[in-house]
């Protein structure tokens, strides 16, 4: 089956340009590359989902401190393993070390932010720079160690998938799957805690423990992603997909799902791209893919996207111009605003010299009646709430009931005719 698919892929005309990229996307580029791409995709999904909860809690940048804090752990694990006579590049060992120091860093952030007067952002900055600096010191120590083997540790800074061992690829795929599984198990309490902490507490959810689980998941995603994305940029996988997903929905549960999908998509495309270009670090490719998705969401998402907002704004602007123009026509005032006149003319409501057409006179009298009803409604304490919905466009028929309007009309009195 795989062979057939591969054959099809290779005989099909390649519109994407690079056949290797397409093969990587469809998991046909060797066993290791497939495992890594698969693991990266799972990791991306887990990161997008976990990151959404951080984003809701407005603590996105805590992950930056956690990821930078992994460096001394990696270096220390290397030193310990070498001095005990093992291979220093043993990935499980390095990841265990990184998890320990990431936990220390996280604890330091929490402690500084809760026990001293320093704010959380200062604590984050202090921890990330100091841990990272100490890690750099340890890296230079490793470079001078006699049993060097140091090649490879730099790969943790920016991520690399080239030359990965089979066991490492399995570890990453398994880690990604495990992270995703844990996210699926704990999604309910995390959702409640991040969306409405008070309600969550009232419903019997232990907030501290949920926070701990959330941070533990962030740590897990960071540690598993170190090798692929690198510790400097892993934070992007936790931040960018949720921010992009926010444009697509106003509902928290959907944002979480969309963020997972977008994170998985970024990691999948990015890891495939890096399989084609083994000399380039993987992390930046994944991050730029995620940013492209974010930019597309910012521009084109329905509802909150910039394009649709601009269109809505324009529609609203034209509506106000036409309505105000009609009010002027109805009261016999001249229209000086060229845009208003152009819009009225385009709709056949006025002539070029600013005189209303027959259609225009009819529409103008309706608008004037509507304005008068609004004005009366504003003066009526009983209708105050409804009157607050006046925005210069909404018809009062859309806000009040028929008998309320009859009541208003009774107070306004009979029609008095429109000034020509």
């Amino acid at each position: 089956m795989v062979a057939v698919l591969a054959l099809r892929a290779s005989t099909r005309p390649q519109s994407a340009g690079n056949p290797m990229f397409f093969q990587a996307l469809t998991f046909q580029l060797g066993y290791n590359a497939t495992l890594v791409t698969f693991g990266a995709t799972l990791l991306g999904i887990a990161a997008g989902v976990t990151g959404s909860f951080l984003f809701f809690r407005k603590r996105a940048l805590v992950s930056d401190a956690i990821s930078h804090a992994t460096l001394p752990g990696i270096a220390l694990a290397f030193i310990v393993m070498v001095s005990l006579g093992f291979d220093g590049r043993n990935l499980p060992g390095l990841l265990a070390g990184s998890a320990l120091s990431a936990a220390t860093g996280l604890f330091a952030v929490q402690w500084l932010a809760s026990r001293t007067r320093l704010t959380e952002d200062a604590a984050i900055g202090a921890v990330l720079s100091v841990f990272f600096g100490f890690g750099i010191v340890l890296l230079t120590v490793i470079q001078t160690m006699s049993s060097g083997q140091q090649a490879g540790l730099e790969g943790f800074l920016l991520g690399s998938t080239a030359g990965m061992l089979y066991a490492d690829a399995v570890l990453i795929a398994g880690g990604g799957a495990l992270a995703l599984l844990l996210v699926a198990i704990f999604r309910r309490p995390m959702m409640m805690a991040s969306f409405d902490p008070e309600f969550a507490r009232a419903s019997g959810i232990n907030l501290d423990r949920t926070d701990l689980i959330m941070m533990g998941l962030v740590m897990g995603v960071t540690v598993v992603g170190l090798k692929i994305v690198g510790l400097i940029l892993i934070v992007a996988l936790l931040i960018i997909p949720p921010v992009a997903a926010r444009f697509w929905s106003d509902r928290a549960d959907r944002v979480v799902l969309i963020a997972g999908a977008l994170g998985g998509l970024s990691a999948w495309i990015g890891a495939s791209g890096s399989a084609v270009a083994p000399n380039l670090p993987t992390g930046p490719i994944i991050v730029l893919t995620a940013f492209a998705i974010f930019a597309a969401s910012l521009l084109f998402a329905p509802g909150r996207g910039l394009l649709i907002s601009a269109l809505n704004h324009r529609k609203f602007q034209r509506g106000v111009h036409i309505r105000q123009g009609l009010v002027s026509l109805a009261q016999g005032q001249a229209i000086y605003e060229p845009l208003t006149l152009r819009l009225l003319q385009a709709q056949g409501l006025a002539r070029a010299d600013g005189v209303a057409t027959e259609d225009g006179v009819a529409r103008a009298s309706r608008v004037l009646r509507d304005e008068k009803r609004w004005e009366t409604a504003r003066g009526d304490p009983a209708l105050e709430m409804a009157a607050a919905r006046y925005d210069g466009l909404t018809q009062i028929e859309d806000v009040l009931t028929r008998d309320q309007i009859d009541h208003l009309d009774a107070r306004i009195g009979p029609p008095r005719g429109v000034t020509p």
């Binding site: 996105a60 007067r117 900055g125 600096g133 940013f291």
Partner: protein, 304 residues
């Protein structure tokens, strides 16, 4: 140690480290108080693509082009963060995270894709600089400090960072009052008629300037550490702004000197043969200072 060894090899990196540390710590005080500490983090990440693009345009490592490129990148980043925050209605921390990771990733890829093998420009250098290499070969001993021809051979980074530090000190002295008022009570500053958003942007630009000049000499890790650690430690020592700035300068100098000495000579004391990264050690020492003040500083507790 004799002057003949110390002056050419250690004096100029030590001075550059001190100047860079103070130049970053000074604006850092205000960033911390304004809860904008991570602006320093963001700026030091986005400087990389600016420098790479400047290099691609200029074709050589020219200090002016790099400074311009980095400053342009910092301004672009601030504009993008503001844009995402306003138009996308995204909280500032997340907007910052989106922008600086993307720009850093772009810088790294540009760097890897372009042919920079002939010049000294790579990711590691950008991250932790190379303070130890800024040596003063023309010096022969302490007497060289009074020898004009030897002084002309000082590394150019020293003059640049000194110039930037001087500029920062002058600007801080000139705008101390408005800056202090708008930092502590932006609403009050606005009612006084102070241009609060201009002051805010000015602070970011000053920070970018400090970051770029320091980045050029010592790499981004010192920049982030010095923006945050000395002012944060100083904040735990005192409640007065003037005293806080003084403490932060003291802590920055202490970190730079102790870090440099520990990195260069510490390993020798414990029987090692090679020195370790001075930039990393300076950041580490600043962290130790912060830890000590967090445990024992007189004003460490939250005001209730």
């Amino acid at each position: 140690m004799s002057g003949a060894e110390f002056v050419p090899l250690s004096l100029s990196p030590l001075i550059i480290g001190c100047l860079a540390a103070v130049a970053c710590a000074l604006p850092g005080n205000f960033l911390i108080l304004r809860r904008q500490a991570l602006i320093g983090d963001a700026i030091s990440h986005v400087v990389l693509p600016g420098i790479v693009v400047a290099f691609l345009f200029a074709g050589t490592i020219s200090a002016t082009a790099m400074m311009l490129g980095a400053a342009a990148a910092a301004l672009l980043a601030v504009a993008m963060i503001e844009g995402i925050r306003r138009f996308g209605r995204i909280e500032p921390g997340a907007a910052m995270g989106v922008v600086f990771t993307t720009m850093f990733a772009g810088g790294v890829l540009l760097l890897e894709l372009s042919d920079t093998s002939g010049v000294h420009l790579d990711v590691e250098h950008a991250l932790y600089g190379n303070l130890e290499s800024l040596i003063w070969l023309d010096a022969t001993g302490w007497a060289s400090l009074f020898d004009p021809t030897a002084l002309a051979g000082l590394p150019p980074e020293l003059f640049r960072i000194a110039l930037v530090l001087g500029l920062i000190v002058i600007l801080l002295a000139l705008f101390w009052r408005p800056l202090a008022i708008s930092t502590f009570d932006e609403g009050f500053a606005a009612t006084l008629g102070l241009p609060v958003s201009t002051i805010s942007l000015g602070l970011v630009i000053i920070s970018a300037l400090a970051a770029v000049a320091a980045f050029d000499a010592v790499g981004s890790i010192i920049v982030i550490a010095m923006f945050i650690c000395p002012p944060a430690a100083a904040r735990l020592m005192t409640n007065r702004l003037g005293m806080q700035v003084a403490w932060s300068v003291l802590f920055a100098l202490a970190s730079a000197v102790a870090g440099f000495v520990l990195a260069g000579y510490g390993p020798l004391w414990i029987g090692g043969t090679n020195s370790v990264s001075a930039a990393g050690m300076i950041a580490t020492v600043s962290g130790v200072i912060l830890a000590v003040t967090a445990l024992a500083g007189p004003e460490r507790r939250r005001v209730t």
